[in-house]
């Protein structure tokens, strides 16, 4: 019995290992090709490993970084993601706390509106949102977080509300009696208790904002700002020029930081996704 099991698990492990290799292959392929000379990358030769002739080291990476303002875009993307996620975490948790604790038509209506907004596809508002953002000049990386806060509020409020319900009111009441005002109460007590939900919401929203393509394309002032997903479009150049090498390098440069962050915090990320999805 035991022997059979260990053979079975060895077979399973092998199958899973092969599957994992297949799983990472696309990324490895991009990595290998990004080290090749541009003329050695074409549909027929992608599977060929770089060799002495085609290997160019980090040349494509240098090209990618230098040519299209990559570092700038990276900075914008980072800034937008960080500010948007912070804003969503702080403001939405406050809002969720309020509408869970106060039972009124107003908070109910608001709750349902938030839930409703979660469902609405972006295409429904893409044009009018870009117009509104433009009118209010929310078209720079410095204040686009307001748009993200507005459009991303649905999911965040929904998830926070689910968790706030499970916090006993008694603790808060005790704090209030001790002389805390509601704001202090919230930040002293609930904010900490919400931390695990914060992680899940933060991860989900960060993944969305970092990878978002259409919203910044339509909203940002393209005269001055491009985010990373927008930038990658520009390598698929122009009238006969597809800069495969630098494009692949750029793809790698975008993926690597995500993978590093993921590997270092994967416990939280996986936990966050699991708890987030089960509630959603």
């Amino acid at each position: 019995m035991k022997k059979k099991n260990s053979i079975g698990s060895a077979v399973l492990s092998t199958i899973l290992s092969i599957l994992s290799l297949l799983w990472v292959y696309p990324v490895i392929m991009i990595l290998l090709n990004s080290l090749k000379k541009e003329s050695s990358i074409s549909t027929g030769t992608v599977f060929i490993l770089p060799n002495k002739e085609s290997f160019v080291g980090l040349e494509n990476y240098i090209d990618a970084i230098n040519s299209k303002g990559f570092l700038q875009s990276l900075g914008y993307s980072l800034f937008i993601t960080v500010t948007s996620v912070l804003a969503i975490l702080v403001f939405c948790s406050m809002c969720a706390w309020y509408i869970t604790r106060i039972e009124s038509t107003f908070s109910k209506a608001l709750y349902y509106l938030f839930v409703f907004s979660m469902v609405v596809p972006f295409q429904m508002v893409m044009y009018t949102l870009s117009q509104t953002a433009d009118r209010l000049h929310l078209n720079t990386p410095w204040n686009i977080w307001i748009i993200y806060l507005g459009f991303g509020a649905g999911l965040a409020v929904f998830m926070f509300c689910g968790f706030v319900k499970s916090i006993p009111v008694e603790i808060e009441e005790a704090a209030l009696i001790d002389g805390c005002n509601p704001v202090q109460t919230f930040f002293k007590i609930d904010f900490h208790m919400l931390s695990s939900t914060m992680v899940s919401v933060g991860i989900l929203e960060a993944m969305w904002v970092w990878n978002d393509y259409l919203l910044p394309t339509l909203v940002l002032d393209i005269k001055k700002y491009k985010t990373i997903p927008m930038l990658i479009q520009y390598f698929r150049g122009s009238y006969g020029r597809v800069e495969m090498g630098p494009m692949m390098a750029c793809i790698m440069l975008t993926i690597i930081p995500i993978i590093v962050i993921y590997l270092s915090g994967q416990k939280y990320i996986i936990k966050g996704v699991a708890s987030g999805a089960v509630k959603g």
Binding site: P26, Y98, N211, I251, I255, V273
Partner: protein
């Protein structure tokens, strides 16, 4: 407590509410209104009644994109959930290296849709070259399966995590009791585990369903709708109507299509809500 809290309502609610009004309420209301108008900017809209909807419903490309979306959704939902569940079962067997596998399978989820699309476009085109088939820009079959493979690659890991969480919630005592009663592994799986994770299954099915329906970035980057709009999903069709056609009637058409699309997605979600609720009652 209520009183004190109500007084500080502005601090708690206003920041989110204002952003929500700017980022959702106003655009949504305007969008609804504009779907009945002919317009090129919000300020020059002219009321035309339901003309836009008439066009949207009679536009063959929109109907085709709907059928394509449904065909895509059905196949990808089945494949993703089947694979994700199988992986989840395998990875809860205390195998060596479970964590590594989990990490690897989840990874594609973190990569953005545009990037994913380009990666797979390169990969699939190379495969097609080797087997001497027409490439993606010309091959709607390859485009269809390409989208499905891409979607599987991206989503299986995510759904797997949810299933794992569900499976880990199955009490060990139940499984032990079953094995004492002489149940085989398969019996345990079908008689105990699957019924116990029904709620995870509902969640995953609907997550994949809405994800499939709203798919945009991957579609744009992988096939862009080629050849000849035959791999165009609904979101992309709306975008193309809006921005790729010049002429002052197109924006109205696009907005009307968007409203139809929106109603469709809401309908699916309501259905989801109902299904989840009824499952909860059963348990």
């Amino acid at each position: 407590m209520e009183k004190a809290l109500k007084k500080s309502a502005p601090i708690f609610v206003l920041p989110t509410l204002v952003a929500f009004i700017i980022g959702f309420i106003i655009p949504f209301g305007q969008g609804l209104y504009l779907s009945f108008c002919k317009f090129t900017t919000v300020s020059n809209a002219k009321w035309v009644g339901i003309g836009n909807y008439k066009y949207a419903f009679s536009d063959p490309s929109f109907g085709r994109s709907f059928i394509f979306t449904v065909m895509f959704a059905v196949v990808s939902i089945v494949l993703i959930n089947l694979f994700a569940f199988t992986l989840a079962v395998l990875l809860t067997q205390n195998l060596k290296g479970t964590n590594i596998f989990r990490t690897v399978f989840f990874m594609p989820n973190l990569i953005g849709g545009i990037v994913l699309g380009y990666i797979w476009q390169i990969l699939i085109n190379c495969l097609l070259t080797i087997i001497k088939e027409p490439l993606l820009a010309l091959n709607s079959k390859a485009g269809y399966w390409g989208l499905i493979i891409l979607m599987c690659w991206q989503q299986i890991g995510y759904m797997m995590i949810i299933y794992i969480a569900g499976l880990q919630n199955v009490p060990d005592s139940l499984i032990e009791a079953a094995s004492i009663d002489g149940a085989t592994k398969w019996q345990t799986l079908f008689k105990i585990k699957i019924p116990m994770v029904m709620s995870s299954i509902t969640v995953c099915v609907f997550l994949t369903l809405t994800n499939s329906f709203k798919l945009f970035d991957q579609n744009l980057a992988l096939t862009g709708g080629d050849p000849n709009h035959s791999t165009e999903m609904m979101a992309l069709n709306i975008y193309q109507t809006f921005y790729a056609r010049s002429g002052n009637q197109w924006k109205g058409y696009g907005q009307a299509k968007a409203v139809i699309f929106c109603v469709l997605v809401i309908f699916i979600s309501l259905f989801q809500l109902k299904a989840t609720r009824s499952k909860e009652v059963q348990q």
